[in-house]
Subunit: 340 residues, 2 copies
DNA sequence: TTGAAAGCGGTACCAG
DNA sequence: CTGGTACCGCTTTCAA
């Protein structure tokens, strides 16, 4: 059997309660006694059992993250890898650990949320959802379960959330292409109805508003492959754009592939800016310009806030935090500005 | 307060013990009573508290994975992303959850292992270590803590491990290039001293042994950037190879970049095969041939075995499982075989 | 300041 | 087949 608090108490000739106090760093324990207890703990390599501890204290020191992806879909999404890495970095040094779950269906979601929250496996949750109108959020709220949303809570401003302003981000990207002298700037978006895509389309449109350039918006499924196909059609059309704002780096990679097939030079014949600023951007010749969402900062804010909530501090004026985006300019948009 | 087993018992007018039995699916509970209890649970949305449950049952249903990486180093390593995704896929459907920790230093490792195992936060561990001679492994063994190593246990065959045969994998890759008619096949390896790199070098050498081709081995740091630099030198040298076995897809991507700079055509002027078969392979024009480690299978085996150990089954003839590798042939090595 | 004791919410044995 | 009951290992009053 492993060594318990009882054992330490017996060894140090004190009561179990005292051992517990020493563990909790209680100042009122006499120094001599404390030393004896500490020594006994050290000698027997004692560590308190987290299960018992959390049964009493009502805290597991576990933060839950539920990823909502198709089977195997995590591996080819650097966004989530980055997200998880950032969370781990932040949690590192705190007493919290990360409990990671992935579900592949809505039914799974529902189940896992119940499991996570009713069973008290975790103290709080980080949600990563573009579609935050979700019924689960309502449930979490009504259960008064601590959570922070990374994403857009839509019209619900009662929940803690941290996010980028995707409209502004797309505006930034589009303006940049305008500044670089592109004249027929299009946008390759994702499926419409998905908030992140819709927001970026809106930003793109806002940037062009007032100018003389008409909208040129296309939609494709996520991923490099379907983007490549879409790009083929776009670039083959009679009235092809000379620059594209692309929904994310993966899709941009598909566009680059299509451009190369058609002997279009980036950035001379086709300017490109995308989103997420993943390491993929470095892997394209000349580099891919991309809007950084500053995920690190987002995650830091989200975690910090969640931990504060867990510590009972929940009195903020603004429950919604917007982390600014920034544009990393690389070769794919660095055309020498055209002189009229 | 949340609803407990007591409450359900009261509501269904049975003893708490009976509720527990129903929960455990005990067949001996009378159907009528069982229905009453189930109904009460459903009506009140009862879920057992995992903390209490695991205090008694000695099981947390948590599997630990400790990643050993420099800060932020997870995000640009698709290997780990894939690994985590696979683990989640396997655990999905089992009652187990994943507890993920990352440490950035050896001291951190030591601490986290203590925390993980002494505090009984997790039921078992999956270790991912190339250098498995580690003192931590000894500690886990001596504590008789359930764990499975993904990697090479070196000369310790008392521990459960699952791995590829990297020597055979590299041999496979090299043979393939020979078969495709390349005459000056080199290898771009990682830092020597790292087991995975050394093993692959050995496999490369074994494939060439007996033939007339001399070894051409270079080393570079991991990552696309340093591989690209190394490749520039290699391909610029007077006696440049006409094909390269490259340590991993990332490095191969660097090589492709260098080749493109130098107007070398892949696969005509330079054949390439690398390892890991990540999605990067699809992103290179024509595709990058790569040896798949079948991580999915590795993870499945590792998890399955760990779960079995947790279930008290630990009587295997072979504690070391080797998962075969397979070559995914793509454009980068598909040169029409040269006729003499 | 320290010790005794009452739980936290379950599980599982034992008796009936 | 069901209920009573003794814990699991720790935290936290309440007295002494």
């Amino acid at each position: 059997m492993r060594v318990t608090q009882q054992d330490i108490a017996r060894i140090a000739s004190v009561s179990q309660a005292t051992v517990s106090r020493v563990l909790a760093g209680d100042e009122k324990v006499e120094a001599a006694i404390r030393d004896r207890v500490v020594e006994a703990m050290r000698a027997h390599n004692y560590q308190p059992d987290v299960r018992a501890r959390s049964l009493r204290s009502k805290r597991t020191n576990l933060i839950g993250l539920v990823l909502n992806r198709p089977m195997g879909g995590l591996s080819d999404d650097p966004f989530f890898a980055g997200l998880v890495a950032e969370i781990l970095d932040v949690l590192n040094g705190s007493p919290y650990h990360l409990c990671l779950d992935m579900v592949t269906s809505v039914a799974g979601q529902s189940y896992i949320y119940d499991e996570m929250l009713r069973t008290r496996r975790v103290d709080g949750l980080i949600l990563v959802e573009s579609e935050a109108t979700d019924f689960r959020i309502g449930r979490l709220q009504q259960d008064n379960f601590p959570f922070v949303l990374i994403g857009n809570p839509l019209n619900n401003n009662q929940i803690h959330s941290v996010d980028n302003d995707n409209v502004a981000a797309a505006e930034l990207a589009t303006r940049h292409l305008v500044d670089m002298g592109y004249k027929k700037i299009g946008m390759l978006a994702g499926r419409s109805g998905v908030t992140v895509s819709d927001d970026r389309v809106a930003g793109y449109q806002r940037a062009l508003r007032g100018g003389s350039m008409p909208d040129r918006i296309w939609h494709a499924d996520f991923g490099a492959v379907s983007a490549r196909e879409a790009a083929r059609n776009i670039l083959n059309s009679g009235d092809a754009p000379d620059a594209l704002v692309v929904l994310d780096d993966y899709m941009a990679l598909g566009v680059v592939g299509a451009a190369r097939e058609m002997r279009l030079k980036v950035p001379q014949n086709l300017g490109l800016v995308s989103f997420n600023d993943t390491h993929l951007c470095e892997m394209i010749d000349g580099g891919l310009s991309s809007v950084s969402l500053n995920m690190g900062e987002i995650v830091r804010v989200a975690c910090a806030r969640l931990l504060q909530i867990l510590d009972g501090e929940d009195t903020w004026e603004n429950r919604r935090v917007i982390v600014p985006t920034s544009l990393s300019v690389r070769g794919s948009s660095r055309r020498e500005a055209v002189l009229e």
